[in-house]
Symmetry: C2
Subunit: 364 residues, 2 copies
C-alpha cells in the first residue's frame, strides 16, 4: 500500500501548504534578495526595496479581486482574532448594534468579542440548531433595521460549509474570508469589509489583509487601540508601525503566482475540480459520510466521517504513510478534514482519492 514518493501533501487547515513555485523563489532569494545583499527579512520597512514589495503586493491583490478604488486595502499584524475586535470598534459607536450570522466557531468568536464591548449586537442565525451543517441565504435573514452591519464567515473551516452567494444587502456586509479568500471570483462591491488572516490562501501566519469601503473609515466617538484602528493603518499606507514585512513579501509572491495561473476564474475552476473529486469519492461510497448539503459545501475544507469511527486512528495513521498529512478533523467535530486550499495541487487530491478507495477496500 505504501507509495514510494518523497512528496508529502499537507492537508492542514492552516497554517497550510504554500504554492511550491512560491516556496522555491522564496528559498532562492532567502539570503540575498535581488542582489541587495540582504534577506527581505532584514530590510528596513522604510527602505526602497520593501516599499516596492509592499506597493506591488497591493497592486496585485487589487488586480486579482478587481477591487474598486472606493475600497482601501491594508495589511495588519495578527490574524482574524485581532479583527474580531477591530470590526465593532471601527464600525460601531456606543449602544449601536450589528447582526451576526453564527455559522461556526469563528463567527461565534467574532460575535462574543463584539458583545463584550457592544452588548447590543445580535445573532440573526444560529447554526448550532443544525450542528453547523447549514448556511442560511443572506436574503432570508431578518436583520434588525438599526443594525450598522451584518457579519458573516464566508467559509467555515471547521464544518466544511460556505456561503455560495453574496447578495447585495442594504447595510454593509462584513465577511471573514480567512479560509476562502482568493479561492473564487468575488464581487467586492457587495461587501462593506472583507478581511482574512493570511495563513490559508495568502501566506505565513501573523498577517491579515483588510479590504474596507472607504466611506466606513470615519472617526468613532470612543478611543480605539491604535493597533486596531483601520484609519491609522490606512492613512500610513500599512506602515504606521513595523508591519510583518516578510509575510507581506510571501503574500506578494502568492499574488503573483495566482496572476500567472490566470487569476481567480482559473483557480476557482481548479478548486472546483479538486473539491468535486473528493466529494464524488465520498458520495459514491457507503464507507464515508458527509453532512453538508450540496449547496453549501466548502471547496476549501472537505469534512467527512468514517461510518465506523473506530477506524479513525487507523485512517490517520495509514494516510500519513501514504504521504497525506493533516487529515485528522477538528477536535470538536471529530472525523476527518481535507483542507485543499489554492496551493494543494491536483496531484495531492488524486492521491487522497486513491487512498480513500484503497483504505475502504481493505477495511470495509
Amino acid at each position: 500500500m505504501e507509495v514510494s514518493t518523497n512528496q508529502i501533501f499537507n492537508f492542514n487547515a492552516g497554517p497550510a501548504m504554500l504554492p511550491a513555485p512560491v516556496m522555491q523563489i522564496a528559498q532562492e532569494e532567502f539570503l540575498n534578495y535581488r542582489n541587495s545583499g540582504m534577506s527581505v527579512m532584514e530590510m528596513s520597512h522604510r527602505g526602497g526595496y520593501f516599499q516596492e514589495i509592499l506597493d506591488r503586493s497591493l497592486i496585485n491583490i487589487r488586480k486579482l479581486l478587481n477591487i474598486p478604488d472606493s475600497y482601501e486595502v491594508i495589511f495588519c499584524s495578527g490574524g482574524a482574532t485581532a479583527q474580531f475586535t477591530s470590526i465593532p470598534m471601527n464600525l460601531l459607536d456606543e449602544n449601536e448594534t450589528a447582526a451576526y450570522s453564527l455559522t461556526g466557531v469563528w463567527s461565534n468568536k467574532a460575535y462574543q468579542e463584539a458583545k463584550r464591548f457592544y452588548p447590543n449586537v445580535v445573532s440573526i442565525f444560529d447554526g448550532k440548531l443544525s450542528n453547523f451543517s447549514e448556511i442560511p441565504e443572506l436574503t432570508d435573514l431578518s436583520i434588525p433595521k438599526n443594525s450598522k452591519y451584518a457579519y458573516i464567515t464566508s467559509n467555515n473551516t471547521i464544518y466544511g460549509t460556505r456561503y455560495s452567494r453574496f447578495p447585495k444587502l442594504s447595510i454593509p456586509l462584513i465577511a471573514d474570508m480567512t479560509s476562502d479568500i482568493l479561492s473564487r471570483e468575488l464581487d467586492v462591491s457587495s461587501f462593506g469589509v472583507i478581511f482574512a488572516g493570511a495563513q490559508k490562501n495568502i501566506g505565513p501566519s501573523g498577517l491579515s489583509i483588510c479590504i474596507i469601503r472607504k466611506d466606513l473609515l470615519h472617526e468613532r466617538k470612543s478611543a480605539i487601540p491604535v493597533i486596531l484602528d483601520w484609519r491609522v493603518t490606512a492613512k500610513a499606507g500599512s506602515l504606521y508601525n513595523t508591519p510583518p514585512t516578510y509575510s507581506i513579501y510571501m503574500a506578494g509572491l502568492v499574488f503573483e503566482w495566482l496572476l500567472e495561473m490566470g487569476g481567480l476564474s482559473s483557480i476557482e475552476k481548479i478548486n472546483e475540480k479538486k473539491a468535486s473529486l473528493v466529494y464524488n469519492a465520498l458520495d459514491e461510497s457507503e464507507f464515508y459520510r458527509t453532512f453538508v448539503p450540496q449547496a453549501n459545501r466548502s471547496i476549501m475544507n472537505v469534512v467527512f466521517h468514517l461510518k465506523d469511527s473506530n477506524l479513525d486512528s487507523k485512517f490517520v495513521e495509514e494516510s500519513e504513510k501514504y504521504g497525506l498529512i493533516g487529515l485528522k478533523g477538528y477536535r470538536d467535530v471529530g472525523g476527518m478534514r481535507a483542507s485543499i486550499y489554492n496551493a494543494m495541487p491536483l496531484e495531492g487530491v488524486e492521491r487522497l482519492v486513491s487512498f480513500l478507495k484503497d483504505f475502504e477496500k481493505r477495511w470495509a
Copy 2:
C-alpha cells in the same frame, strides 16, 4: 576607495541584520524542516513539530535571560505598538495612574497611547529639554505614590541613548526593550514586565515577546480586546489564536545561536567591544560629533553627526559603495546612525571604522 567584497553590512535600525549562521540554517530547512516534507511556514500551529519549536524557544529564552519561574513568557503578534495599548489595559483599572519616563519617540508614543484610555497617567521625565540626549537615573525620579507602574524604554534607537542601570523600584518597572533585549546581561527580577518587538535582536518583524511577573496577570474591571489580553495568551501557552509561527521559529534559531555564542555575558562583551570601536573612532575625530554623554551611550545604536551636514548625502552614498547599508539617521534627528545589534559581526564594525577614517581623510 571601493572595497572588493560581496558581503554587505546592514546597519538598519530594524528590521535588521540577522545572524548569518541562523539565516543559513533557515535557508537549508526552508522547504523541508527535519524531513517533515513541509516548511515550518506550512505547519499547523497545533501539531507536534511546531509545539516542539515553540517549547524549545521558550525554554531557551528563559535560559538566556535566566527568567525566574515567577514570570510568564508569551509570544504576541505585532510589535511594540500593540504593547503600548496592552500595557495600560492589562495593568490599570479606570482612573488609575502610572508614571512614564519620556526619553524618546517610543516612550512618548507609549505614553500618548496610555493617556487616551487612562487620562491620569503622568510623565515623570521629559527628555525633550535635553534634545533627548539625557537619560535619568531611575532612583532620581519622583514617581507619584499612587502610580501602579513606572514605564521606560531601555534603549532609544533614534537618539542612541540607554539606561545603564535598572535599580529595583518599589512599584513594577515596565520596560520596552525592543532595541536592546538580549544584548546585555539583565536581572529580570528588577522588572514587572519586559517586552520587545522582535525585529532588532530577535527575528522577523510582526512578533513580540513579553516577560510578565505572574502576580500582575490578574483580572481587570474593564474588557480588554482579546488580542491585547496577556492573560488569554498566557493561559493558552501563546496558542490562543494562530501565532506568527515562522517568526517564532526564527526567534528560536536566534536564541540557540546566542546560547552557542556563550549567552548574554559573551554577547555583551562583544557588543561593548563593537560599540567602543565606533565611539572611539568618533571621539578621536574633529570631523564627527556625538551628543550622548558617555554614561548613557547605547551599545546598539550609535548616533553621530558630520560636523558639516552638507557632506551627509555624500557620506551615505560613499558608505553604500563601501558595502555599508542603512547608515542614514532617523528623519527627525538627521546625521547618521549605525545600528550594531547582536547579529552585526565585528568585521562589519571594523569596516565602518575604516570607512569613517577614509571618508574623513578625503573630505576633512
